[in-house]
Amino acid sequence: MDTLPLHTISVLVANKPGVLVRIALVFARRGYNINSLVVSPTINPKFSRMTITAKGDLETLEQIIKNVNKLIDVIHCEEHPANTVEKELALLKTKASPAVKAFVAKNARKFHVRIDDASEGCYIIEQTGTTLELDEFEALIKKYGVLEMIRTGKILITRGQEKT
C-alpha cells in the first residue's frame, strides 16, 4: 500500500446532505483508502469543496474520478497534480520544556511553526505548510516527545486564472 502514489482530488459539490456518503462509497467500493478529506464552504453558498487525498493505482483512480463525476450532486471532480498552492495545518502537543521552546524558535521560519498555547505543563505547537513540510517537522519534533497530534488534511487551490 505504501508504495502506491498519493493523489489529491478536488471535488466541487452541491451543498446537500448525503453528498459525502455518495463520494465515500465510490472510493470504498474500489478499495481506495482515503488519507485525508477536507470539506469546506466556497464563495458560493450553494456549493462546497472537498479536497481528498488517497492512495492507490492510477487505473482505479481514473475509474473513481469518472464515477464521482457521474454523481448528480457533483459539479466536477479532478485530480490536481501540479500548478497549485497546497497547504495543511497541524497542531502538536508536547511537554513544555526549554528544549522544545528553543527548537521551535530555531525552526520558526523554516517550518512556519509557533507555540500557540502553554498550559498545565504542555505546549501546543501550530504549523502551516505543505504536507511534506508537516511530515518533516513531525519527524524532527518526535525526539522531544509528542503527546498528541492533529492535522487538517491538505487543501489546495490552482494558481492563476484556472479554476480549481
Partner: protein, 580 residues
C-alpha cells in the same frame, strides 16, 4: 379529490401527496405498481380518483420488476410506490436489477415523520442510505414545497444519459402537509447533471472511422445501449454497408435482427460457437453500447488480441473500464452510428463471411429429440409456434441461456432479461409489466422452476387484471445452472441445487384462477404449446424436461473465447478463475 380541484390546483388547497400525483399525471404516467402501508397512506389516498392506474402487487419486489418490464418495452420510466421499512427494503433487488441494466425507474417510498427520523420509529428504514450504491440518484424530501421540483428532476434524471433508477423517500408529514409552492412545474436545480445528453464529438467519430480502412474481419457488437437509443436501423445500415457480421450481448438481443444473414446471435459464456469464433478471429471489433461485461470478455489479456477495439458508450466511465479501446466516442449509440455510417467505406469481407458460414455449419446450436423432452425443444417450439413475434421475458439460469440461443429476436425492446444483476424471480413479473405496456401483444415469460417460485405470487395480479401472460416453466427440478457448474467443475458434488418436491404447477395455477397446461414428451410439445399460445387468458405451461442437461457452448468464467467447449469434455475441468 374532485374534478374541480384537478383543473384548478392553485385555487384549492392540496397536500404534498396530491402535488406529487399531479406532477406524475403531468408527465403522462399511466401506471403505478405498488403495495400500501402506513407511511404511504397519504400518497395512496391521493391516487383515489387519479387517472393513473394503481396496480396492487403481492410483494414490493414484484412491483419493481413490473415497472422494469414496462420501462424496457415502452422506453418510459416505470413508477413504483411502496411504504417505509420492509416495504422499502423489498424494492432493493428490483432497484439493483434496474441499475445494472440501465432501466429508467422511479421508486417512491413512504417514510416515518421527519421528527422521528433516526429514532428507530416503527417501520423506519434508512432507505436512501441503503440504496445509495444502487441508484442513479435519490432524494429524502424534507420540505413539502420541494416535491414538484424533486419529482421533475427525478423524471429527467432517470431517463436521460444512461438511464437508471431514482428513489424518492417521502416522510408522511411531508406528504400530508399543505402544498403552498408557486408552481407544479418549477425550474430544476441540478447543476451537477451536465451529462444528460452528451453530444458526440465529431472528431472522435472521424478518428474511429479511420480504423475501418483496409480491415478484412470486422465485427460489430451490439449491446443494451443500442436498444436504449433505438440504434437498430442505423446499425443495420452500418453492417450492410461494411459487410460486417453482427453479434449481440444478452441485452442487445434483437436490436439488430437475429434473423438477418449477417447476425451471429449472442456471443460470450453461452453464446453461439460462431459468434465466439468471430470474436477470436476478428481484426476489428466495435462495441455499440456494450460495456464489455465479463460474460463476454472473460479474460481481458486474451480478449480480441489481434483486433482494433472501438467503443461507443453514452457513459464516459465505461471507457477504459474493462477494455482499453483504440478509439472511442461518448454519445448515444444511434447518433454516433448514424454519423459513422457516412464516414466508412464498404470492406472486402467475402472471405470472412465464408469463414463464419463454415463455423455456422460446423458448430450449429442443436439438441436431441430422442432422449426425452429438452428445454431447448420447448423453447424452439415456442419460437416456431409464436413465429418469433412474442415479447419474451426470461428469468435467470439455464433456461435464460437456452431462450437467448433459440428464441431469435428481431426487436430490441421485445426481449427482457436481467443481465447485469442476474435476478432470479425477475422473469414473470417483468412479463406482467410488459403486458401492461403492450396489452395487445403476446407476452411469454420463460422461467425456470427455481426462479418462478421466487415471485409466483403475482399470479394474483395477472388473474385480477385479466392479463393474458403465458408463463412457460422449464422444470428440471434443479437450480440447473449451478448444478451444471457443480457437475463440470466440482466433481458433480451437488450442493443446494435439488428442487425435488416442487409443487404441482398446473394445480398451483388453477388455485390462482389461471389455466394450467402440462407437457413432458417430445411428441406432445408442439400441440400443447399451440393450445397454450392460442389460449385467450393467462396460463401456465408446465414443461417437465429432462433433469440433467447442460448449456453448451460454454466458456468457463475467467477464460477467453479460446477455451470455449461445445460439448461435455471427457477430461476433468479445472475450477473457473472468474467470478461466478
Amino acid at each position: 379529490m374532485n374534478k374541480e380541484a384537478a383543473k384548478t390546483p392553485s385555487k384549492k388547497a392540496i397536500n404534498g401527496a396530491e402535488a406529487l400525483i399531479k406532477c406524475l399525471e403531468g408527465f403522462g404516467v399511466e401506471y403505478i405498481w405498488g403495495l400500501s402501508g402506513g407511511a404511504a397512506i397519504p400518497i395512496f389516498d391521493a391516487l383515489v380518483g387519479s387517472k393513473i392506474k394503481l396496480i396492487l402487487t403481492r410483494h414490493e419486489q414484484g412491483a419493481t420488476h413490473m415497472a422494469d418490464g414496462y420501462a424496457r418495452v415502452t422506453g418510459k420510466p416505470g413508477v413504483v410506490l411502496v411504504t417505509s421499512g420492509p416495504g422499502a427494503t423489498n424494492t432493493v433487488t428490483g432497484i439493483l436489477t434496474a441499475m445494472m441494466d440501465s432501466v429508467p425507474m422511479i421508486v417512491l417510498t413512504g417514510q416515518t415523520i421527519t421528527s422521528m427520523l433516526g429514532k428507530d420509529a416503527f417501520q423506519e428504514a434508512d432507505i436512501s442510505g441503503i440504496t445509495m450504491p444502487v441508484v442513479k440518484h435519490s432524494y429524502l424530501v424534507k420540505n413539502t414545497n420541494d416535491i414538484p421540483r424533486i419529482v421533475k428532476e427525478a423524471w429527467h434524471i432517470c431517463q436521460t444519459g444512461r438511464p437508471g433508477p431514482v428513489l424518492i423517500d417521502l416522510p408522511k408529514d411531508i406528504t400530508s402537509a399543505p402544498f403552498s409552492g408557486d408552481s407544479l412545474d418549477p425550474e430544476m436545480d441540478i447543476p451537477g447533471y451536465k451529462k444528460d445528453t452528451p453530444s458526440p464529438h465529431k472528431a472522435d467519430i472521424v478518428k474511429m472511422a479511420k480504423f475501418f480502412k483496409g480491415k478484412k474481419k470486422p465485427l460489430l457488437l451490439v449491446g443494451h445501449g443500442a436498444v436504449l437509443s433505438n440504434a437498430g436501423a442505423a446499425i443495420k445500415k452500418l453492417a450492410e454497408k461494411l459487410g460486417a457480421p453482427v453479434t449481440n450481448t444478452l441485452l442487445g438481443k434483437g436490436e439488430f435482427p437475429e434473423t438477418h444473414p449477417l447476425s451471429l446471435g449472442m456471443l460470450g459464456m453461452h453464446g453461439t460457437a460462431y459468434a465466439n469464433k468471430a470474436l477470436i478471429n476478428c481484426d476489428l471489433i466495435l462495441s455499440i453500447g456494450s460495456r464489455w461485461d465479463d460474460r463476454i470478455n472473460g479474460n481481458n489479456n486474451e480478449f480480441c488480441v489481434n483486433a482494433k477495439k472501438l467503443h461507443i458508450d453514452v457513459d464516459f466511465s465505461e471507457i477504459n473500464k474493462i477494455v482499453k479501446p483504440d478509439a472511442w466516442v461518448v454519445g448515444q449509440a444511434r447518433e454516433v452510428v448514424e454519423e459513422l455510417v457516412k464516414l466508412v467505406d464498404p470492406l472486402d469481407t467475402a472471405d470472412w463471411l465464408k469463414e463464419l458460414e463454415y463455423y455456422k455449419k460446423e458448430f450449429p446450436l442443436k439438441y436431441s429429440k430422442t432422449n426425452g423432452l429438452t428445454a431447448q425443444q420447448v423453447i424452439d417450439t415456442c419460437y416456431k409456434v409464436t413465429q418469433g413475434r412474442a415479447i419474451v421475458s426470461t428469468d435467470v439460469g439455464q433456461h435464460q441461456m437456452w431462450a437467448a440461443q433459440f428464441y431469435l429476436s428481431d426487436k430490441g425492446n421485445y426481449w427482457l432479461s436481467s443481465g447485469g444483476a442476474g435476478t432470479m424471480g425477475y422473469g414473470f413479473p417483468a412479463a406482467v409489466g410488459a403486458q401492461f405496456a403492450a396489452p395487445k401483444d403476446l407476452v411469454v415469460a420463460i422461467v425456470g422452476d427455481g426462479g418462478f417460485q421466487m415471485t409466483l405470487y403475482e399470479l394474483s395480479t395477472v388473474f385480477i387484471h385479466k392479463l393474458p401472460v403465458k408463463v412457460l416453466i422449464i422444470d428440471n427440478k434443479y437450480l440447473g445452472m449451478v448444478r451444471q457448474w457443480q457437475e463440470l467443475f466440482f466433481d458433480n458434488r451437488l450442493s443446494g441445487v435439488d428442487l425435488e418436491g416442487n409443487p404441482d404447477f398446473v394445480k398451483l395455477a388453477e388455485a390462482y384462477g389461471v389455466k394450467g397446461f402440462h407437457m413432458d414428451k417430445p411428441e406432445n410439445c408442439e400441440s400443447v404449446m399451440r393450445d397454450a399460445m392460442n389460449y385467450k387468458g393467462p396460463c401456465v405451461i408446465h414443461a417437465e424436461v429432462i433433469k440433467e442437461d447442460n448449456v453448451f457452448p460454454m466458456i468457463p468464467a475467467g477464460k477467453s473465447a479460446f477455451h470455449m467447449i461445445v460439448e461435455k469434455p471427457t477430461t476433468k475441468m479445472e475450477k473457473p478463475s472468474g467470478s461466478t
